[in-house]
């Protein structure tokens, strides 16, 4: 029986280390992130982001983003515009308090990476691709991404008007190992 213990322990250690290699790195979102949007009028930021980020450059299949933005944290720099943006006419923050993105596949591209997944906003879900870069820093890493969404795809606002229908988003998220 004793003879079997050592091979069993060795197997266990090997299995655990294989699992450790396969499992992607979990990252914790640090303060200092920025989510800027540009709809020509208005331009602003969302100031509340949370979620789970699992990312490993060497193991993209097991990498995953599951993040959400608090709609009420919108800041355009003007109080009246903030209230208007949160109202039923636009984001309807009371009914749809979060914007969610859940990735389904992360792949490498020529310029970095891209996360294909489902973006949920204003109660509407749309398949969305977010191109991003990943750069390691002394204290962790930074994700940077830029992409565009058409607000009418998510039934936000009316066609035309001062606000551009295509909204440009620039995201920068510093992370640390969790």
């Amino acid at each position: 029986m004793k003879k079997l213990i050592y091979p069993f322990v060795a197997l266990l250690v090997l299995a655990t280390s294989v699992f450790a290699v396969i499992k992607s790195q979990d990252w914790k979102i640090k303060e200092g992130y920025s989510i800027k949007f540009d709809a020509q009028n208005p331009v602003g930021v969302f100031t509340a982001l949370k979620g789970d980020i699992r990312f490993d450059e060497k193991n993209l299949p097991s990498s995953k983003f599951d993040v959400s933005i608090d709609v009420a944290s919108i800041n355009t720099g003007n109080g009246m515009q903030n209230t208007h943006a949160k109202s039923e006419k636009w984001f309807d923050a009371a009914k749809y308090p979060t914007i969610k993105f859940t990735s389904e596949a992360i792949t490498k591209t020529a310029k970095g990476y891209q996360a294909a997944g489902m973006l949920e906003m204003h109660g509407e879900k749309k398949a969305t691709i977010i191109p991003f870069t990943f750069a390691k820093t002394p204290s962790g890493a930074v994700f940077n991404g830029s992409f565009e969404v058409n607000r009418l795809d998510f039934k936000i606002g009316e066609p035309g008007g001062k606000s551009s229908e295509v909204i440009k988003l620039d995201i920068s998220v510093p992370v640390s190992k969790s």
């Binding site: 800027k36 331009v43 602003g44 930021v45 100031t47 800041n75 355009t76 720099g77 003007n78 109080g79 009246m80 903030n82 209230t83």
Partner: protein, 135 residues
């Protein structure tokens, strides 16, 4: 006359600035906001003094033409002008790193009336009122 109006504008500007400073501190304490990137003691005093100097110049110019009716017309114009300026804190776009911009008008709008209040309160000390006698 102009010298008296100049002293009036400086005195009123300083008084309005002090009131603005006190209100700024009280608002900051009560609402837990920080608009120091937009409004600071120096800007409060500068704007109040400039507003009162402009008011004095306007009074002096109006007095050239209106004589006895100067006070009535000037007071109305000064009040309307002060009221009109409240559009600027409502429409201003603050830097995006300033939190709670919806609380900014509550700080700035009352301050827009401090120069007119101070100027009208102190005016009798410097310039004799000119009333049109209605009989």
């Amino acid at each position: 006359m102009f010298k008296k109006l100049l002293f009036l504008s400086l005195s009123a500007g300083i008084l309005a600035g002090i009131a603005g400073l006190i209100y700024n501190r009280a608002y900051h304490f009560a609402m837990e906001t920080d608009f120091s990137k937009v409004i600071n003691p120096a800007s409060i005093f500068a704007v109040c003094i400039i507003a009162c100097v402009v008011a004095s110049i306007a009074y002096w110019i109006l007095d050239r033409f209106l004589k006895d009716k100067t006070d009535i017309i000037f007071n109305i114009l000064f009040a309307i002008g002060s009221f009109a300026t409240i559009l600027s804190p409502l429409s201003i776009k603050l830097p995006l790193d300033v939190q709670n911009p919806e609380l900014f008008p509550g700080l700035a709008i009352p301050m827009h009336f401090f120069p007119v209040l101070a100027w009208l309160v102190l005016k009798p000390l410097f310039v004799k009122n000119k009333y049109v006698r209605i009989s």
